[in-house]
C-alpha cells in the first residue's frame, strides 16, 4: 500500500480521461440514436428495416470485440490507404477508435430508447404543431426532438451509467484512463491489490455522482412536464 500511495493522484487523474471518453461516446451515441429514430419516423420504406438490423447486430456484439474490430480495421485501412497514396502510415488514436466503436454500438441502444420515448408521446402534439402551420422541419426541431429527448431522459441516464463503466474497456487498446493507469502502477509497484482497489473506488464515486445527478435531472424535467 505504501508504494502505491504516491501514485494516487496519477490514478485519480485518469478520471478526467474516463469522463471525457464517456461524455464524447455518449454524445456520439445520442446523435446516432436520434438520427436513426427520426429517420424511422419520416416513414421512409427502408428505414425501419435498416434500423432494426443495425439495432439487432450492435446489441448482440460484445463491446470489446467492437473496439477491436474498429481499431484493427482502421489500422489496416489506414495502412492500405497510406501504401496506395504514398504517405507515411499513421495509426489511429485509441480515443478515436473507442469513440467510434462505443458510439456506434450504444447508438443502437439509444435508438431503442428514443423510439420508445417517441412512441410514448401523444400523436396529437404533432398534429397540433402541423395544424398551427409549422413546416415539417420546424415540427421536427421544435416539437419532435425536444419532446423525445425529454421523454428519453430516464433511459439515457441509465445508459450513461453503463457507458461510464464500459469506458474502462478502452484501457485494453491503450487509452490512459483510470484502469490503464492502475495497471501501469500495479506493474511498477507490484501492489495490484491496492491500485485496482483505488481504481474501483474512483469508479464507485463517479457512478454514484452520476446517479445523483440523474435523479436530480429527472426530477427537474418531470416538474416542467407537469406544469
Amino acid at each position: 500500500m505504501d508504494a502505491t500511495l504516491p501514485f494516487l493522484p496519477y490514478i485519480v487523474g485518469g478520471l478526467a480521461v474516463t469522463i471525457l471518453t464517456s461524455v464524447t461516446t455518449f454524445a456520439c451515441a445520442v446523435a446516432i440514436g436520434l438520427a436513426a429514430t427520426l429517420w424511422v419516423t419520416t416513414g421512409h420504406p427502408a428505414a425501419n428495416r435498416i434500423v432494426r438490423v443495425y439495432v439487432t447486430i450492435f446489441r448482440s456484439l460484445p463491446e470489446l470485440l467492437c473496439i477491436f474490430i474498429v481499431y484493427f480495421g482502421c489500422e489496416i485501412a489506414l495502412r492500405k490507404a497510406a501504401a496506395s497514396f504514398g504517405f507515411r502510415p499513421v495509426s489511429i488514436s485509441p480515443f478515436l477508435a473507442v469513440t467510434v466503436a462505443i458510439g456506434v454500438q450504444f447508438g443502437a441502444y439509444c435508438a431503442e430508447i428514443f423510439s420508445d420515448a417517441h412512441r410514448s408521446l401523444n400523436p396529437g402534439l404533432f398534429e397540433a404543431a402541423h395544424a398551427l402551420g409549422l413546416s415539417r422541419r420546424k415540427v421536427m426541431t421544435r416539437v419532435t426532438i425536444p419532446l423525445t429527448l425529454q421523454a428519453a431522459i430516464p433511459g439515457l441516464g441509465n445508459l450513461f451509467l453503463v457507458m461510464l463503466k464500459i469506458s474502462a474497456l478502452a484501457s485494453v487498446i491503450g487509452l490512459e484512463e483510470v484502469t490503464r493507469r492502475a495497471k501501469i502502477v500495479a506493474g511498477s509497484t507490484r501492489e495490484p491489490f491496492a491500485s485496482y482497489a483505488i481504481a474501483a473506488a474512483c469508479f464507485l464515486v463517479v457512478t454514484a455522482g452520476a446517479a445523483v445527478l440523474q435523479t436530480r435531472l429527472e426530477r427537474t424535467f418531470r416538474t416542467t412536464q407537469g406544469a
Binding site: S60, E63, F68, I69, A182, Y196, A200
Partner: protein, 249 residues
C-alpha cells in the same frame, strides 16, 4: 489474404472451441449468480435492517465497479493475499484464469440479477401470499412455492437480458488469457497475422448466440404465460387481490 483464412478449418475449429468456453462461462456464472442474486433480492425485500443493508451495499458496489476492474482486481490483486493462497478456494477458483472469470462474472451478475428478481418479487400480489398463509403455509413455504415461482416468471425477460449481457461481457475474459470466443479469434489472428477476419467471424457467432438466447427467452415467456393453468391462476389472483383490496378499504 483474407479469403483463405475465412474458409480455413483452423479458424472455424478454433472459433468452435472458443464458443464452448464462452457458453460454459456464461452458464456457470449465470447459475451461481442466479442463486446469489435470489438470496440478495430476498434479503432486500424481506430481510431485516442488517440483511437489507448488506444487500443494498453489495448491489451498489458490484453495479458500480466496471467488470474489467473487478476482473483485474481478482486476477492480479487477490493472489497478493497470503491467506487466500493457503485456502482451499485457491485451487478451486483463483489458480486458473477461467475460475477467476467465473467468480468475477458471478459477483457482477448477481448484483444485476438481484435487482431484476426484486422487481419480480414486487409484482407478486399481496393477496397471493396471504392466500398461502391462510392455507397454513409457513413463511418459508410461501416464499419458495408462491412468491419465487411467480416472481421469476414475471421477470423472465430481464433474466434473459442478463444472460445476453453475460454472453457479451464474457468477451472480457479474453483479456486475462482465457481463450473464449474472442480469445480464440485473437489467437488465430496473431498466428496468421490477420487481426480482422477472425474477429468478424467471432462477431457473427456472437450475433447468432444472442439471437438464440433471445428466442429461447421469448419461447419460455410465452410458454409460461399462455397456458390454461396460467389463465386460471391469473383469474384467481385477480379475485384474491380484489378481495384484499376491498378489505383494505
Amino acid at each position: 489474404m483474407t479469403t483463405p483464412l475465412l474458409f480455413s478449418d483452423t479458424l472455424w475449429l478454433a472459433i468452435l472451441r472458443g464458443l464452448q468456453t464462452t457458453i460454459l462461462l456464461t452458464v456457470l456464472s449465470m447459475t451461481f449468480a442466479f442463486i446469489l442474486g435470489t438470496a440478495l433480492a430476498l434479503m432486500k425485500v424481506y430481510g431485516g435492517a442488517v440483511a437489507a443493508s448488506v444487500s443494498v451495499t453489495y448491489i451498489f458496489l458490484f453495479r458500480g465497479i466496471p467488470l474489467l476492474i473487478l476482473l483485474y482486481f481478482l486476477y492480479y490483486g487477490a493472489p497478493q493475499l497470503s491467506f487466500l493462497r493457503a485456502s482451499p478456494l485457491w485451487d478451486l477458483v483463483f489458480s486458473s484464469a477461467f475460475g477467476t472469470c467465473v467468480l468475477a462474472f458471478t459477483l457482477n451478475n448477481a448484483a444485476y440479477l438481484a435487482e431484476a428478481i426484486r422487481g419480480g418479487i414486487l409484482t407478486v400480489k399481496k393477496g397471493q401470499m396471504e392466500a398461502g398463509f391462510a392455507i397454513g403455509f409457513t413463511s418459508r413455504q410461501v416464499i419458495s412455492r408462491i412468491t419465487l415461482p411467480i416472481a421469476l416468471r414475471n421477470c423472465l425477460s430481464q433474466i434473459g437480458n442478463e444472460a445476453i449481457f453475460t454472453i457479451k461481457a464474457s468477451a472480457i475474459a479474453s483479456v486475462v488469457t482465457v481463450r473464449d470466443l474472442l480469445g480464440e479469434a485473437q489467437y488465430v489472428g496473431n498466428i496468421y497475422s490477420d487481426n480482422l477476419t477472425p474477429l468478424l467471424a467471432a462477431a457473427v457467432l456472437y450475433v447468432v448466440l444472442v439471437q438464440i438466447v433471445e428466442g429461447l427467452t421469448r419461447w419460455a415467456r410465452n410458454a409460461l404465460h399462455a397456458g390454461p393453468d396460467r389463465r386460471r391462476e391469473n383469474a384467481k389472483a385477480a379475485i384474491v387481490s380484489t378481495q384484499a383490496f376491498k378489505e383494505k378499504i
